[in-house]
Symmetry: C2
Subunit: 318 residues, 2 copies
């Protein structure tokens, strides 16, 4: 395990992922309570809102109120996502509280692009050129490329490694051509197809082509393979992961209501701890926050660890 | 991944594990229905009952009726467990329907031995000597050693690798001294402490000492690490696993009611399939059986895959 990182960086996406898919309605105050609880766990990056059309994602109609209302903690980076200039303008209005770093979003699946981004691949590429230009003009850095549907697509089946490589290359070229410097490329398992084997295949392929790029994994635990897939990622030296407290989340456009969401942050933290890898997150505090998340949404969430609790209570003498 | 097996052998323990811990009561007919459904999935080994005291494990008071009632399928091996001669006699009475192979059960934790086996380590070793002798005298082969609490103990904390090595050595010596030929040593995570790192540590240690022995893993998914731990086991070349349909199960003596049970068979099968490894089990049939298990117990079971379904519906063109 020579590639093993000393530390993994986790972007906690529970609020953004969770509140976009929960039937709700969940009060603005409850959203803020979860964000403030998360910032007390040691989480250093928290994705707290989505500036999208309230028609498309009613759960985020109150994004501005949520961002206005939470209490920023020193040393924590708060991020949001958006897909167009209108979203950018809303995010920029919260400069100071929100990190304004933006991401180029592409899909490795045309069918998912059409459903989730409402444009075919070519249309989305063209839109992202305009998006990057608008951000550069507004002084908002574009630092990430996100490739959705990197592991498979509920609308078109398996996604080839070539399709992912093409999307990564497209994203990097759009950035390059327009003066943006990409720091991270995220391979996103938008619909819960990941497995350790698939992580290995994909990570090997992107690394071979872009040996100096930093890749992140955004994995869903839809079929019980999420933590195993994250483990394979860590083994391969991937040190950036997205996850969601309690396993909140899931994509409202995945065509699969009720399927479990993101890998649970607390389960990822336990995995890392047992490997001797730092996350900066206090496991007990994250489990407590997972329980809070469950109370807020009002139904059981997928994380097994939130139900079982950590091993701490049992570690009597050691 | 040079050690990767072509095939893994799964012992389906859902009936035995599940009905010992479910609050129930679950009818004998429902238990039989689950067993017969499991045998139609392609599962080749099914552990269907526990011949234990009905006072200690009320859920198995009807073990004899269950074993009498199920419909044996050609090519499937049906097993049961027992811990004493009384149990052996009950199992032998079902010869013909039940495989009569027995196991030496030891614990790597003294505290768990006292609670689960009702004897300290020395007492359990002595009892197992008598147990092996009685089985040899009755012509019942003793072919497995099971080391409970191999990954940690809710009553005494972490379990050292040395304690596991000692228990394995004790079990093998008891067999050897009394003419039993052990074919498999099972490292059992009785209380849900497993992680991929722990699997690696333990498998490396037992393999170094007994390079020619076949080791099996019995893992629980109590904290979301079970499939990742199984993955690490497969990576290391382990080819024998216990699991339970839908993630049924858990140990009634683990001091942790409500904690998730065994790794779910269908999630293990999906893991293997994605690695290109055979299990002989039809994934769709196992998922359907997981749904049957959920209907039988009358509450949600832990498997994510039983809720999400397989990828088959989405694999349109490939």
């Amino acid at each position: 395990m020579t590639d093993l990182p000393n530390r993994i960086d986790i972007v906690e996406e529970g609020p953004r992922e969770g509140f976009q898919i929960e039937a709700g309605p969940i009060s603005t105050a409850a959203k803020i309570e979860l964000i403030d609880a998360l910032s007390s766990t040691g989480a250093q990056k928290i994705q707290i809102a989505s500036f999208v059309s309230p028609k498309a994602v009613p759960g985020w109609a109150d994004a501005d109120e949520v961002v206005s209302g939470f209490s920023p903690r020193h040393g924590v980076e708060y991020t949001a996502i958006w897909f167009n200039e209108r979203g950018m303008d809303r995010a920029v209005a919260h400069k100071g509280k929100l990190s304004n770093s933006a991401a180029i979003s592409l899909s490795a699946s045309e069918a998912f692009s059409e459903r989730n981004l409402r444009r075919d691949l070519q249309g989305q590429r063209a839109a992202m050129v305009e998006y990057v230009r608008a951000h550069m003009a507004a002084g908002v850095p574009v630092e990430r490329v996100i490739v959705m549907a990197s592991f498979g697509c509920n609308f078109s089946g398996r996604v080839s490694t070539d399709a992912v490589l093409t999307a990564v290359a497209d994203g990097l070229a759009i950035a390059d051509d327009n003066g943006a410097r990409i720091q991270t490329v995220t391979l996103a398992d938008s619909m819960g197809w990941c497995s350790p084997s698939a992580v290995r295949r994909l990570v090997d392929a992107v690394r071979e082509r872009w040996p100096d790029m930093s890749f992140a994994l955004h994995l869903h635990d839809t079929r019980g393979q999420g933590i195993a897939a994250a483990y394979e990622g860590i083994r391969l030296g991937i040190s950036k992961f997205d996850s969601a407290v309690a396993g909140l989340g899931g994509c409202p456009f995945a065509g699969q209501p009720g399927a479990p969401g993101n890998i649970a942050t607390e389960e990822l933290v336990l995995l890392a701890q047992e490997m001797g890898i730092e996350t900066g997150i206090n496991l007990e505090a994250m489990i407590e926050t997972a329980r809070l998340a469950e109370r807020i949404v009002g139904h059981p969430l997928p994380s097994a660890l939130l139900r079982s609790g950590s091993l701490k209570a049992f570690l009597k003498d050691n």
